[in-house]
Symmetry: C2
């Protein structure tokens, strides 16, 4: 049994705040400060350059990757940490296209995170040779997979609604059509169990600052299926993915396994903070996490819908078809979210009308969920959102 | 006048260590720990997702870029921080090739940092279309610039010897031949004054963990000449380089100016530490830094050469022709460096035989330089390096 009151006690949550935005940026583990302090003062400060060996900085991308691997169903040696999710998307797509050089179409959907589509667009424009990014509705993906498709690139959980793709079925369909599969797990890793190995997908990527609570700007991760690792050509062929980085050869020779997906010098201090956050995940049973996540989200939906007809559920009603978030549509959703935030209840807003609430069993409680539901009901029912300070939009939301 | 005893007092250097490896990883500014703590506990911990606005995280890549800009002769609005140097090399080269689409040759030299060559190789392999990476001796670069060259890509200060290229002359030659110029300033930024605007180069890149003391894994920077910024197509077209990242459009539209070279979510905690290190640079006169750097390196060379004939100067003898490091060749340089490190004198070794010493006026003193020279003389003269514990090589050096 996973004791979620134990895990909650490991986070520092501000007084008076109900935090339902861990799907944008997870909160701070109490151990993060001391862990960063150790890396800064004891390792960097005292070991200086020797920290790369003595403190094991050089091995962290692989060891952190393996710890994330457990949460997403990836075998040890198949996941490595570094860079940002956008960069990892680029790496995965470039390598995937290389594995399928005769085809021209990259298939994605409009529920994919925009940066994934932007990175694909940039890569395809660079490569030229008639490559094409085809973006369909999420529901149309399966039917759009055909013999023209080189790569299918999707985010498992839609960032707007939490709607889940069926990883296993879509991957099987992609493979049957001869396409390579890439999954973005940004809203999956740490949100619910993922069976990456079972899906048989060639590549997966994700970030660690959402459900994994790695902190602002925490590095991303990339997974490469073990049997193809040594066939994958790294398009971003940096020295730390080289077979012998410190030989300073003039020619690139890719390192073995997933290590070749490393690029430049890894962000040691961010990795230290991520390590503190991954400590919390040790011993968390992912099935128990999923059950608890569904309890929280079902409670939220039931209490909101019992209180108001003014908002419309944007997430799938079937909990098995959504991730660990619930979104409601409300025409003045931006202002309503500002009104909630003014009361210390933090979710977020995605244009044009989506109010988004993330549920994280590691720290969210039933009482928080009920208080958030009651506040949302009150705000939309009474028009409490209709005030100038809530209506004014900031540049960054 | 810059008071270098004041700046030295701002660093935390371990007792008993003489640190001459700031050209690999600069030491810890005393303010780094508190600055990281503020970002972790007060910003992330208390503001949570609101930190992006309230703590100004979103603006940091530009504001830190401008502060680095002052040190390298770049106008405000032309430098932005993010990712790693390898990624920034890739961005610069991809954009440079786009500006010169009819030519096939990328010219570099074998004094360039290997990762730059690896990244170029990976990019050219991806692009195909007959593109070719031509790597010549550093001395042969100027003569190799001709009408076939699309891009000249060089590191100003050779990481092995500190030998400097003449930025202005080579850039002028590249432009006269119709080529685009990229400078890697990894061993320049914070080492001596750079006149990037005066060189008229289109692109420059660099890292912040060496002479800028930004900490292990600190982010890189990229410069784009102001007049071409809005013509540059970002190959790594991530959402934070988008004109409106939070509109979540499906199509990529590059942001204005150098902001379009941003890619994914920036490493907030690493940027906070970098900010603490850049505070030290405020008020440092770069000409005074250069004079002091030359004093330190000239003292080192003179005292080593007065004491032993067993090592050979690998750096240019003319201080104006080298950066802020001195390298000596010694056949058993690896072991000799280990012997120095065992005495608390930290430089580093680069295969096959280069003992490398960086000199940083912000914290290195005359006394340290003399002590290091005396120890080196003694170790090579007496054979003190010839012990099993110094001869055994570790995997990472």
């Amino acid at each position: 049994m996973t004791d979620f009151s134990r895990t909650r006690a490991l986070f520092d949550l501000p007084e008076g705040v109900i935090y339902l935005d861990g799907n944008s940026l997870g909160p701070m583990p109490k151990a993060a400060l001391a862990r960063a302090g150790r890396t800064i003062a004891d390792e960097w400060g005292q070991m200086l350059i020797r920290g790369w060996n003595q403190a094991g900085w050089m091995q962290m991308p692989g060891s952190l990757g393996d710890r994330i691997g457990r949460l997403i169903g990836a075998a040890p040696g198949s996941t490595v940490v570094g860079d940002t999710l956008s960069i990892k998307v680029y790496q995965a797509l470039a390598s995937a296209l290389d594995l399928n050089p005769s085809r021209k179409v990259v298939l994605s959907d409009n529920g994919n995170f925009p940066s994934d589509l932007y990175m694909a667009d940039g890569l395809l424009k660079s490569l030229g040779r008639g490559l094409e990014l085809k973006v369909v509705e999420p529901e149309a993906v399966a039917d759009a997979i055909d013999e023209t498709v080189a790569v299918v690139m999707l985010t498992e959980a839609d960032y707007r609604t939490g709607r889940l793709h069926d990883m296993k079925a879509i991957t099987a369909k992609a493979h049957a059509a001869g396409a390579v599969m890439i999954w973005d797990l940004a809203h999956s890793a740490g949100a619910f169990p993922v069976d990456l190995a079972g899906s048989n997908a060639e590549f997966a990527v994700g970030c660690t600052y959402k459900y994994l609570n790695g902190g602002p700007g925490a590095p991303a991760f990339i997974y490469v299926r073990p049997d193809i690792q040594d066939r994958v050509r790294p398009a971003l062929s940096g020295w730390l993915g080289h077979a012998a980085p410190f030989a300073f050869d003039l020619d690139y020779r890719p390192g073995s396994g997933v290590e070749r997906m490393r690029v430049g010098t890894p962000p040691v201090i961010q990795m230290a903070v991520l390590e503190a956050s991954l400590d919390i995940w040790d011993g968390v049973d992912m099935q128990a996490l999923r059950r608890r996540s569904i309890e929280l989200s079902e409670r939220f939906i039931a209490e909101v819908e019992a209180g108001t007809k003014d908002v419309t559920l944007a997430s799938p009603r079937d909990p098995n078809a959504r991730g660990s978030q619930v979104s409601f549509r409300f025409a003045d959703g931006y202002a309503a979210m500002q009104a909630l935030i003014a009361r210390g209840i933090i979710g977020d807003f995605r244009a044009p009308d989506i109010m988004r609430f993330g549920f994280c069993p590691l720290y969210n409680t039933d009482e928080e969920v009920s208080a958030a539901a009651a506040a949302l009901v009150e705000i939309v029912s009474t028009g409490a959102w209709n005030r100038p300070e809530f209506l004014a939009r900031k540049a960054v939301t």
